[in-house]
């Protein structure tokens, strides 16, 4: 083809292309961010103004009453506390399981490795389904026991494969061999070499598990029927989906139905922020690990 200057068949210079891309990215980012931004400004605005459509871009009035009500609500506080506990236990449990499975399966000459891998991978494609699993959990007496949130998940096989690939591709085999020749046990190698050398992928797994447990409520809906054990999202179901505010709140309100209604609306917005904030604040700090970890792990899935 006969090209002159930086002209090309589509007629766009590099500069024009850049501008189009940037404008498009800004528009898309705005569309994605706006709903969250709207909830944030609505949570500190006068609910009547929110209702009247006066808070599209900026808050109207400023009040923290919604947040005060959230932190004064015993159900929401218990839910928050439960979610923190479940997230900590679940994350540690899940990452330990992933590591304990991924390391032996990453050793190429482990006898039976192929069958063991298949044993785990099969569960990715086929399962017993909701009810048979529920009945087994029930049979083991785990209903209303918080371990029902962690044990039935077993090993997160998809994540385990990513970690196994990372071990295979990113940890020098010579290093492990040298340690074995020096007489180090597999536990020592695992603990002293593999764990420290796989920090980037561990960070990814920690964040994945953390997000999953913080946001999970379905498992609790099925296995933890007791109200006092409900995690935050399940408590929020009453507020956000059923639109009901705890009776304890209603009795403390002076000013009747209108005031209660106003408070209900404010609690909706502020509880969304309270529930979403922890993960949204944490993840930009670990974002760089995602791409790195995913790339190392994704090589031939």
């Amino acid at each position: 083809m006969n090209q002159k200057n930086n002209g090309n068949p589509s007629g766009l210079s590099e500069r024009t292309s850049d501008i189009i891309l940037v404008v498009m990215s800004v528009v898309i980012a705005f569309i994605v961010a706006y709903p969250l931004y709207y909830v944030l400004i609505a949570s500190v605005s006068n609910p009547y103004d929110v209702y009247a459509g006066k808070t599209f871009l900026f808050p109207s009035g400023f009040t923290l009453d919604g947040y005060k009500a959230v932190f004064a609500d015993n159900n929401l506080l218990t839910g928050f506390k439960n979610s923190v506990i479940y997230t900590v236990i679940g994350t540690v449990f899940s990452v330990v399981m992933i590591y304990l499975t991924a390391y032996p399966l990453s050793i190429k000459d482990l006898p039976g490795r192929k069958y063991l891998s298949l044993f785990f991978i099969f569960t990715m494609y086929f399962g017993g389904g909701l009810i048979p699993t529920y009945l087994i959990v029930k049979q083991f007496g785990l209903i209303n026991n918080i371990w029902a949130l962690f044990l039935p998940g077993g090993v997160a096989v998809g994540n385990m494969i990513i970690v196994r690939n990372y071990f295979e591709n990113s940890i020098p085999k010579e290093l492990l061999e040298a340690a074995r020749i020096d007489g180090a046990s597999e536990w020592t190698i695992f603990y002293k070499l593999v764990v420290p050398l796989s920090k980037p992928i561990m960070a990814v797994m920690l964040v994945y598990s953390m997000v999953a447990y913080w946001n999970d409520w379905f498992t609790a809906l099925i296995y933890l029927p007791g109200v006092e054990k409900a995690p935050l999202p399940l408590v929020l179901r009453n507020v956000l989906i059923k639109s009901s505010v705890a009776a304890s709140q209603a009795s403390t309100i002076s000013g009747g139905y209108a005031e209660l209604n106003k408070l209900t609306e404010m609690i909706k917005f502020s509880s969304i922020i309270v529930a979403a904030a922890p993960m949204l604040i944490i993840f930009p700090f670990v974002q760089k690990y995602f791409e790195k970890g995913m790339m190392a792990g994704a090589v031939k899935g």
Partner: protein, 298 residues
């Protein structure tokens, strides 16, 4: 035998590491598979899984003769199919566009924003949807100047479900494509630039071909999960008035099994769903294999 013993003695530490994961997987993954047989039995807790009376296809027959059976199958399939149709291409376009951005910090910033909704619980997303779609004071109605109760409109349900799904997960979906694109040798771009290729030509002739194997793999995986419509979001967005489109199998299994304790019946309905799913996976796999011989799956 000697060989097995030798292997165990030599590698006992490695096998020991696997012990707890294997035991948990047997109990909570393989035992439930064994428990699927209650779909063909009349399960009584006192008699246990194998002790309950064999009833053959009774529960399946009951499901197929229930009044809403075909509506549920249709809704499950259509919701899944339209979701795939609309949601699948979005991350590909986003990744191709973002990959061309030359301003690194700006690009990272945009990615951060795009990832964000993925970190929010479905419960919160549905709560936001309920607020935004409310006929009085809801954001959408305020912007449109209308007072429509969208969640009572059966015709709006799929759009709500799919659009919010794209909002939440399209950004996250770009990671796998971005990782593939990052592996492209930059000398290809240099050569293309010298030849005077425009940005669109670089996307068309360098980036897109590089993505095709990943796209095919992702497509097979999504198709294999087609009927696995998530229970959570449908359940939270379902109202009495939008059931004509929101009545799906997963919600029915939950209601029959967990709420009404009809264990055998719910297991049978769930099993039917799984079988359709596996059939679709095999079908899609065959089609794709025929289309491209050189791409192998798993």
């Amino acid at each position: 035998m000697v060989k097995v013993k030798e292997a165990v003695v030599k590698n006992w530490q490695l096998y020991l590491m696997l012990a707890i994961p294997v035991i948990l997987t047997i109990i909570f993954k393989y035992l439930p598979m064994y428990g699927i047989q209650i779909a063909f039995r009349d399960y009584k807790a006192s008699a246990g899984i194998t002790g309950s009376q064999w009833v053959g296809m009774k529960w399946f027959e009951r499901f197929f003769s229930s009044p809403n059976c075909w509506r549920m199958i249709k809704n499950t399939f259509l919701l899944a199919f339209y979701s795939l149709l609309w949601s699948f291409p979005v991350p590909i376009f986003l990744a191709l566009a973002l990959h061309q951005l030359r301003f690194q910090r700006f690009k990272t910033g945009v990615q951060t924003i795009l990832y964000a909704p993925h970190f929010i619980s479905i419960m919160i997303v549905c709560g936001m949807l309920r607020i935004f779609l409310s006929p009085t004071g809801g954001l959408i109605n305020l912007l449109l100047g209308t007072q429509v109760d969208f969640l009572s409109e059966a015709s709006a349900f799929r759009t709500i479900y799919i659009a919010s799904g794209i909002w939440q997960d399209a950004g996250w979906g770009i990671i796998v494509y971005m990782a593939t694109l990052a592996g492209i040798d930059s000398s290809q771009y240099e050569a293309a630039k010298i030849d005077g290729a425009s940005m669109f030509q670089r996307i068309r002739f360098i980036d897109f071909p590089e993505l095709v194997p990943t796209i095919v793999l992702m497509l097979i995986m999504s198709a294999g999960n087609l009927m696995n419509i998530g229970f959570e979001k449908v359940w939270l967005l379902q109202t009495d008035l939008n059931k004509a489109t929101s009545d799906v199998i997963a919600v029915y299994v939950y209601q029959q099994g967990i709420e009404h304790a009809k264990y055998s019946y719910a297991t049978a309905v769930g099993l039917f769903n799984t079988i359709v799913n596996v059939a679709l996976l095999i079908l899609v796999n065959k089609i794709v294999k025929r289309l491209s011989d050189d791409i192998s799956f798993v």
